[in-house]
């Protein structure tokens, strides 16, 4: 029975429930305690020991119902009311089919599935192969042989028997196919989220399909939580000061040296301040979206973010991001009729010029400036002077380029002209890049 539990857990993982090894062990022990006897009880036990949120419980219960469904071999093949033809029984499979032994057939099929490792099924194309293997395990060869020998005899009785067997065979094949299909959906449905997790981190953000967005957000949420956790200890230490003896003495001189009010040494953590300047022309938009999701998730770590977006000109959008979630904010900016953003050709000169004229005082010695863009200026004058002015005031200026380094400087890319005025230029097009970058930023 261990094997059943193992398979069930694989199926549950495929369905999107996160199950660790220790939870598997717990479930095994729990099931040992209560046994497999009671279906509802087993479901409860598994739900309690494996699923750890309300949403996961729902997933797990659905998975359970599908996994332990015994709806196969229901409603036997249509006999149209006639007396079933008498068929000489040559194998157990034929006997079971003729006697409509549903339990026997089910048992034979699951046993065959176990021997053939049906739970290893991963791809759509494997279905026919597994169905074939299952059938031969169950003894379909004998059935065929009997059919053949019946075909050789030319009597009405034999013909009727052959027809009966033929129908039984169709019924069998259909059920086995359904069973394999069901198993395939359980174990490999949705292309296997298990593998996806690791892969999505490395996939280029610009290539990620829309339907994975929810999943990416989940990954980002977990990354953000980890980063937050990492530095919570640091925050705590800063809160708990030690006695500052010199200051205490100094301040209590007025009380004739009696130590009335102690003062404490406090460590001050400077949380970084960010100014984010994003190119939101279409080529870069995806990356912008995920970077901002990340940054705004880290609000405990970051003192203040001011966000500017540009395409042909540059505007500040901090208030939009402050007032609504990142997703919504981005769509508002893009479609925004009330926002004075011109979505024409990307113009770095004008945009940086705008920033220099209007917002330069947003950048101080404590500010880290993040610029996200591909520096493709449509062959206009890049005018690095504007960037130089920003660079001169900032603590750091980091340029994130969603293009791979091989393309930097090729065509209308002006990144080489801007590079003297950047502290760092980084390639940034996967979640991994973003995470590495940001964990470095909040630690330094």
């Amino acid at each position: 029975m261990e094997r059943v539990l193992e398979d069930f857990i694989t199926a549950a993982r495929t369905a999107g429930v996160r199950i660790s090894i220790s939870e598997t062990l717990d479930a095994a022990r729990a099931v040992e305690t209560v046994g497999y006897g009671d279906r509802a009880l087993l479901k409860d036990v598994l739900a309690v020991s494996l699923a750890k949120t309300a949403a996961e419980k729902q997933l797990l219960e659905n998975c359970f119902d599908r996994f332990f469904s015994f709806g196969f071999f229901a409603g036997a093949a249509d006999r149209s009311g006639e007396e079933p033809p008498r068929i000489q029984v040559e194998s157990s499979l034929v006997r079971m089919l003729m006697e409509e032994d549903r339990a026997g057939l089910m048992a034979a099929m699951t046993e065959a599935a176990r021997l053939e490792n049906l739970s290893q099924i991963r791809y759509l194309t494997q279905r026919s192969l597994f169905a074939f293997r299952l059938l031969s395990r169950m003894g379909a060869d004998d059935l065929d042989r009997q059919l053949q020998s019946l075909g050789a005899v030319d009597t009405p009785a034999a013909a009727a028997a052959a027809a009966g067997l033929e129908a039984a065979k169709r019924y069998l094949v259909e059920n086995v196919r359904n069973y394999v299909q069901n198993t395939y959906e359980l174990f490999a449905g949705d292309e296997g989220w298990r593998r996806l997790d690791g892969e999505l981190r490395l996939v280029k953000l610009s290539n990620i399909e829309q339907r994975y967005f929810a999943h990416i957000h989940e990954i980002i949420r977990r990354m953000v939580k980890r980063l937050n956790d990492l530095s919570s200890r640091r925050r705590k230490r800063a809160r708990r000061g030690v006695l500052d003896f010199k200051r205490t003495l100094r301040e209590n001189i007025s009380c004739q040296g009696l130590l009335f009010s102690p003062s404490w040494k406090k460590k001050k953590i400077d949380r970084p301040q960010f100014v984010v300047i994003c190119d939101i022309s279409r080529s870069v938009l995806r990356t912008v979206r995920f970077l901002l999701l990340f940054l705004y998730g880290l609000n405990q770590e970051i003192a203040r973010i001011r966000t500017f977006v540009f395409c042909t000109n540059l505007i500040e959008v901090s208030d939009i991001f402050d007032s609504c979630p990142v997703e919504e904010a981005l769509s508002r900016i893009q479609g925004g009729a009330d926002i004075p953003l011109i979505m024409g050709r990307t113009d770095y000169e004008r945009s940086f010029g705008d920033f220099r004229r209007n917002y330069l005082d947003a950048v101080t010695r404590k500010t880290t400036v993040l610029i996200l863009g591909d520096a493709r200026n449509n062959y206009n004058d890049p005018c690095p002077d504007h960037l130089k002015a920003i660079y001169g005031r900032a603590k750091r200026l980091i340029w994130l380029n969603p293009e791979v380094p091989a393309f930097w400087g090729a065509g209308d890319s002006e990144i080489r002209k801007y590079s003297p005025y950047c502290s760092v230029i980084r390639e940034c097009n996967t979640l991994d890049h973003i995470e590495r970058l940001i964990s470095a930023l909040i630690r330094s």
Binding site: R29, L41, K236
Partner: protein, 313 residues
């Protein structure tokens, strides 16, 4: 004692019946979880909306098993000193003062600084020993000889660090006190953690627990709860109250009425000697189960309709 305890946890139906006997109406899943928690020696993490009886479950378990209930209420800034143990500083100071003469004695008999020190070293651990240790809830729960029910309430309100610190206790039922050593549980307590999901708990914590999600009960179960908790209430009124509350839960409210509020309302109505729900009566007692001004407005608008459907019960 031990036998009785085992006997009461012998099977799931026994446990279900047991909860009933202490006026806690549990569905089978709850009983199953408690049963498993005992047999696997695992803590239970109880989640669910406010007021569905998460804390009550721990109390009922303690009641039924006749074990002491030790409760630790979590809040932001809770730390080891308040949760686990603390040294009785006052007592330590007092004793050093009282024993001053004794100490002088010991030291003065020795001549020479180093030998006095040596002599002192033989005694110094006295002040860091059991008599000076103030056990806080967690340590107390481990020390109970016959076992205990430990309730760590609203664990989501505590800091991340505290959560990490809980891990040792939850998985091994032991704590380390540097001056004394590792203290193991005499009898492993039955642990309940409750959470309202104000923040997501860490994976590590969840992994160590059985997870029980209690949602609002079905009408039949809620009726039974009301009958148990409010003796003397008429069957008809019970039906109407429960129907009304269940309908109110469907509305868009800031805070939907919980079971405890259903019970409160039922009590109020019995005190007022009500036999059936009437719109006027409901309007006057609305504030027993709706706690926000905005919500009251929403419910009051639909009051007649809600009462009408409830009365049909």
């Amino acid at each position: 004692m031990k036998d009785k305890y085992q006997e009461r946890l012998a099977s799931i139906p026994v446990l279900e019946e047991g909860f009933r006997s202490v006026a806690y109406i549990a569905d089978r899943r709850i009983a199953t979880t408690v049963y498993l928690a005992h047999h696997l020696e695992k803590p239970i993490l109880v989640e669910g909306p406010a007021g569905v009886g998460k804390t009550e479950l721990a109390k009922a378990t303690a009641d039924y098993l006749e074990l002491p209930l030790i409760r630790l209420q979590c809040y932001e800034g809770l730390d080891e000193a308040k949760a686990l143990y603390e040294w009785k500083y006052g007592k330590q100071l007092l004793y050093t003062q009282l024993l001053k003469d004794k100490l002088d004695d010991i030291i003065s008999r020795k001549n020479g600084f180093s030998s006095a020190m040596e002599k002192l070293h033989q005694y110094d651990d006295i002040f860091f020993s059991w008599p000076f240790l103030e056990p806080r809830p967690l340590l107390k729960a481990l020390q109970e000889k016959d076992g205990a029910v430990l309730l760590i309430d609203e664990v989501d309100k505590s800091d991340d660090e505290f959560e990490a610190f809980l891990l040792e206790i939850l998985s091994d039922f032991q704590v380390s006190v540097p001056e004394i050593g590792t203290i193991r549980a005499v009898t492993k307590p039955l642990v309940f953690l409750t959470s309202n999901n104000t923040r997501e708990l860490s994976e590590a914590l969840k992994r160590r627990c059985l997870h029980l999600f209690i949602s609002f009960p079905e009408a039949a179960l809620e009726r039974e709860i009301v009958r148990r908790r409010v003796p003397g209430i008429s069957e008809r009124l019970t039906r109407q109250i429960v129907k009304f509350i269940q309908d109110v839960r469907e509305l868009e409210l800031k805070k939907v009425p919980s079971i405890s509020e259903t019970i409160d309302w039922a009590r109020v109505l019995t005190i007022l000697h009500a036999e059936v729900l009437e719109p006027v009566l409901v309007r006057d007692t609305l504030n027993t189960f709706i706690k926000f001004e905005d919500d009251i407005v929403v419910v009051a608008e639909k009051l007649h309709q809600l009462t009408a459907t409830a009365i049909r019960q």
